[in-house]
Amino acid sequence: MNITASDVILLAHAGFGVLGILAAVWVFVEALNAREENASRIRNASIVVALLMIGAWILGGDWYLHYYPADKALILKGPWPFAHNLFMETKEHLFFLTLILALYLPIAAFEKLHANSHARKMVLWVAMLIVLSGFAIEGFGGVINHGAKLSLARDAGKGAE
């Protein structure tokens, strides 16, 4: 088994992102049922969302800067160059939208959600946008991965001929 630092960082980046999405779902469900009793749980969960997205940013940034250039070259010479030109380009910038929303979520969640229906509505919207943009980013990651895989498969096919 050969697990490199690149593998660990990439998978940890995706893992932090998925956990951040799950935590945002947690916030959404808790906010739907906001009461005085779960107020601190909503606040804590919203902080967890922000911390997980910051972790995804740092890990993804490190991988993008140090390891992605090789994958990028591979994708661009393969059959799916749009995996980089469209999906990676969008993903790397769309992530900041999710990050900003994740940083805002704890601020919105520190309102008394059980007493302020509009503050609750804001938290629901922000959590939902984090989930939707997060899923889009995860899906884009799958397309990028497939773009690299197709390029490698084509090269392997040529080598076998």
Partner: protein
């Protein structure tokens, strides 16, 4: 149980506007740096990579604008829905805008 209110708190209002501004800024700067290579090179010179500079600029803008607005009475008379519409529309339009930009550019 506390009485329901129709307004967000000061932090909620200020940082909602700051988040909307930072999100729109992020999309605009992504398009500008791709269309204008000197801008991209300048951004890269600040931190070693344009993407790193963009991320830091987004977060700094969010925090700075939020703190500045926090000291003002911005939106005190606006309903909470105004801030929700502002932030949600900024996120949806900016997110879709990024995809369309890279699809066409």
């Amino acid at each position: 149980m506390d009485a329901d209110t129709s307004r967000l708190g000061r932090a909620g209002r200020s940082f909602a506007v700051a988040a909307a501004i930072a999100i729109v800024f992020n999309t605009v700067i992504a398009c500008v740096k791709d269309a204008d290579k000197p801008v991209k090179a300048f951004m890269a010179s600040l931190s070693g990579h344009d993407w790193t500079t963009q991320g830091i600029a987004d977060v700094v803008l969010f925090v700075a604008v939020g703190l500045i607005l926090w000291k003002t009475s911005i939106g005190e008379k606006l309903s909470a829905n105004s801030f929700i519409y502002l932030l949600a529309s900024a996120a949806i339009v900016s997110g879709a805008g990024l995809f369309v930009w890279y699809a066409l550019y």
